[in-house]
Structures are given as C-alpha cells and as structure tokens.
C-alpha cells in the first residue's frame, strides 16, 4: 500500500503552485499541407524553488497527429508516464529540460514549435478538378497545458477564411485573431472549428522504406520505396484529360504534381521508377541548399495525384563508401541518415533496412531514436550464409527524425575474397570437368588396326 502511494506520488506532475504562464501568443499556420503552431510562452516563477523542467501535454485525440514538438530553449525531451494526467485528462506528457532554470521571481520566454499532420478535414468531401479545396480545422480555443494561463492570444493564418464557429473572434482578411483571454485554468478546452480554403494537396506517405546494401567493393546501394496517398477532398466524377490541362496551374490546384528530394552530394546512378518502369518526368541537379551541398531531385509523379488517389514509386541511388564507411583494422563504422529523402512529407510508417556484407559479425547499432529493431539475413547475389540485415521500424516519421545512425561491425579482410573465389571455383570446375571427360574411354569395342 505504501509502495503504491509512493509510485502514485512519484508519477504525478510536480507543478509548483506559483509557477504559471503569464503570457502566451500562439500562431497557427493553416496555409500549408501540414499544420505548424508556433507559441511564444512566457513563464513566470513566483515560487521559491528554481524550475528546471517544464511540461507539455497533448490530448490523446491529437497525439498521433503530432509528428514533432520541440522547445528552442530546452536540451532534452522525453515522454513521461503520468497516471493522473493520462486518465483524468486523457493526455500524454512531454518533459522538457530547460538549458537554464527559471529562478524564483524571474520569467523566461520560450518558443514552442508543434508540427501536426492530418489535421484538415475536407468539407465538401468531393470537389471538381477546377474547384477550390475547402477544409475544416478543429482546435481548442485555449492552449492545453498543465499550467495556469494569465493571458492568451491566438492567431490563425490562412489562405482564405470561409467561416468560423467562435463568434468572439476578430477577422483581419486572411488572419483570424482569438483573444486575448485572461486567467484560464489548467487543462481548459473548448472546441471550435474554422472552415477555410487550403489548396495544397493533403498528401502523406502511408508507407515509406529505405533499403541499404553495403558492399566492401566500394558501393552503398540505397533504394527508397514510397506509398503516397492524397487524403484531401475526393475528385468528383470522372477524371478527364480535357478538363485537366496540365499546363494551366489554376486547374487541379489540390492535386499533387511535384515533389522534391535531396540526396547526398556524392550520390550517383539515381533512378526513379514504379511498377511499370522508369518515370521520365524527373530532374536532378547538384547544388547548394540551406548552405549544404546536395543533389536535388525534382520528381513528378506519373499522374497528378488527386484526393483519394494513391500511387507508389521508388527512388534509388548509390553512394561511394569513402565518406560513409570507416575502417580501423577489422572494425568498421558505417554512418547513415535515418530518414528518407523526400523531405517535405511525413510518413505513417517507416521501415529502414541495412544489409551488411556477408561475413560481418559483432554488429552494434547506435540508435538515437525510439525504434523497433529486428535482425534477419538477406540472400542476394553470391550469398551462401546470408547478409546480416538490421531492420528498424518506426511509426510517424518525418525529417525531424533524420538523425545519424552509427553501425559498427567486424569484418575480416579475407571475407572480401569469398565471392571471387566462388566464381573462380566454378570456372575451374568446368575446365577440370572438360579435361576429365575428354580423357574418358567410353568405347566398349576396341577397333583393331
């Protein structure tokens, strides 16, 4: 019983009595494919203890739509199990450790960034090729937080507002202003909806995977497979090439026409294909993006992807081992990026598969992320015992998960000769067989001379 109370006490959030949010300014961006919320939060510590950790709560209705959250001024983030919040508020708690603590009678302004996907609900559900896409966005009027909020103001940035349910809001062209609200209790929620125009295609990857094959003959082969789906408003009626003029940018604005990917600068042999074969509508160039040397790939799907439509494609490329594989005697270290190359999208599920050369042993993987790991063997060209393969699975994956994965393994120098010896043996066997067969005496009757 005592233990139970102790656990209960240990798990509950330690919110200091005189620690609260004095001001919060939220800016919700509803102009893009995904929703980005930037909040400037001013924490006030009127207590006596310095505060090092702050908590962020997310309601379970939204927790699977949140693909990334961070606080600029923090250096550690973790999900904590809190029974009280979990069952009373139906929410998940993130704990952020601040870079420097908030001293008593001091305040600190932090920047909270929330990234959501799948937040828009198409309304109407079906539209024509030439129509605008209207969507509904549902949100809470108050910031969902375990802290008391003294003052809150929220801005919604849109392309065009059709209507909104909260009548006290002020509209300034494309901007909707909620508040300011004073003295909001912790965990306050009040649902409101905004009906707005958003013509960006609501595409997500339902599945993405990256397959890596490392060869000690100097190549790293990478193949990425994507399953894409447009979850926006469905296309009304039949699709016709006459209505859909691909050279007119005002038609089919809500369909996905183009994607971009960025590959490492030294990648070569890039291919873009699907089940049918090569997709010729792609462009590649080497250049600088965000101050980084990259190979930029412009991909256009085989057809514009309208609401409710799905498509699959494959993007593959090769990398030299020089930059990604390091050696120290028999020890090898492989450094790879975790996430996929189509950086603008979020995937529901992601599978990352790394095959090391046959004969690699003592494999260690350094994982900076929460992923599920399974190991298997891959049988490909000239394989006898199978290549050791690491399979990493993750649910919602985005570019924020693009962390470096370091794999260390041992590989003896003789193992590289396995395949050449196999080919040599085959040829030698064939020659020896010919020599032997040509010397056989199969005549049963000897001819007399």
């Amino acid at each position: 019983m005592l233990l139970f109370i102790f656990i209960a006490l240990a798990s509950s959030l330690r919110i200091q009595k005189n620690f609260f949010i004095s001001n919060i300014e939220r800016t919700v961006q509803l102009t893009d494919r995904y929703v980005y919320i930037k909040s400037k939060i001013n924490f006030q510590n009127d207590g006596v203890i310095p505060i090092e950790k702050i908590y962020y709560t997310i309601h379970s209705a939204l927790s699977d739509k949140l693909y990334h959250v961070n606080i600029e001024e923090s250096n550690a983030k973790k999900v904590i199990e809190d029974m009280d919040v979990k069952y009373k508020q139906n929410a998940t708690v993130y704990e952020f450790t601040l870079q420097k603590s908030i001293e008593p009678s001091a305040n600190l302004e932090v920047e909270l960034n929330e990234y959501y996907y799948k937040r828009f609900k198409p309304m109407p559900k079906e539209i024509g090729v030439e129509d605008e896409q209207l969507v509904q966005f549902m949100d809470s009027v108050y910031f969902f937080t375990p802290y008391f909020v003294q003052n809150q103001i929220t801005y919604y940035e849109t392309q065009k507002i059709i209507s909104y349910t909260l009548k006290s809001a002020t509209q300034r062209n494309q901007l909707l202003e909620f508040g300011p609200y004073q003295d909001i209790k912790a965990y306050s929620t009040q649902i409101h909806t905004i009906h707005l125009e958003n013509n960006t295609p609501m595409t997500v990857f339902t599945k993405a995977s990256k397959i890596v094959e490392v060869s000690h003959w100097g190549n790293i082969l990478i193949e990425e497979n994507y399953s894409i789906e447009n979850q926006g408003a469905k296309l009304k009626g039949e699709f016709g090439r006459v209505n859909f003029n691909k050279y007119n940018p005002n038609i089919g604005k809500h369909s996905l026409k183009q994607l971009s990917a960025s590959l490492p600068y030294d990648s070569w042999g890039v291919y873009y294909r699907d089940e049918i074969g090569n997709i010729s509508t792609s462009n590649a160039a080497k250049g600088k993006l965000n101050g980084e040397n990259q190979a930029l790939i412009q991909l256009r799907p085989r057809f514009a992807i309208f609401g409710g439509w799905r498509s699959n494609f494959t993007l593959g490329y090769n990398l030299p081992t020089k930059k990604y594989l390091e050696q120290d005697g028999n020890n090898f270290r492989l450094t790879l990026n975790f996430s996929f190359s189509v950086k603008e999208m979020v995937s529901d599920s992601y599978n990352f598969q790394i095959s090391l050369p046959e004969g690699a042993y003592d494999i260690k993987v350094d994982l900076p992320l929460q992923v599920e790991r399974n190991d298997t063997l891959l049988f490909s060209y000239f394989d006898t015992v199978g290549r050791p393969t690491i399979i990493l699975d993750k649910t919602t994956t985005s570019q924020f998960d693009n962390k470096q994965i370091i794999i260390t393994y041992k590989f003896s120098g003789i193992s590289i000769l396995r395949e050449p010896l196999m080919i040599f043996g085959t040829f030698l066997f064939a020659f020896l067989l010919i020599i032997y067969l040509r010397r056989l005496d199969l005549q049963t009757l000897k001819l007399k001379e």
Binding site: E213, S215, H216, W217, G218, N219, L221, G269, N318, P320, T321, K322, K323, L325, E326, Q327, D328, G329, N331, F332, R333, P357, E358, S380, Y381, F382, D383, I416, E419, P420, I423, F424, T426, F427, L428, A430, F431, L432, I434, I435, R438, R439
Partner: protein
C-alpha cells in the same frame, strides 16, 4: 589507430577497364584451350599443359566476370 575512411582494394573507377582486359585475356586462354582440345587427340595431349591453360583461363575469366558484375553496378 583511429577510424579512417574506407576505400575498396581496387578503385571503383578501374572496374570497367579491368573487366574488358581480363575477360579478353581469359578468352584468349579459353580459345587456346579449345583449339588444343580439338586439334590434338587424347594420346598427344599433355595433362600438365591442359591443367595450366585451364587454370589460367579460369583465373582470368573469373576475375573478368567479377569486374563485369561490379562495373555493371551489381555489388556483393
């Protein structure tokens, strides 16, 4: 000794040339082997010559095949 960038035993840019040259030499040995098999009868052939030509032919043909695979982008 710390970790150093790994480079393969043979530079990847030489693969296609190696494939052509080694396969060509291999074919020369193979043709000599075939000619020797056909022109000489069983009693005239020497086993050491057959074996040595066969060995060299398989050596060059196998390395030629190996580098052809690598040059074609079929890494193992």
């Amino acid at each position: 000794m710390g970790y150093q960038a790994y480079s393969p035993p043979i530079d990847t840019k030489h693969y296609s040339n190696l494939a052509i040259v080694l396969t060509f030499i291999g074919f020369c040995f193979l043709s000599y082997f075939v000619i020797y098999q056909i022109t000489q009868n069983k009693q005239q052939r020497s086993l050491t010559k057959e074996l040595s030509v066969g060995l060299f032919a398989s050596l060059f043909l196998s390395s030629g095949t190996l580098f052809s695979f690598l040059a074609l982008g079929l890494y193992f």
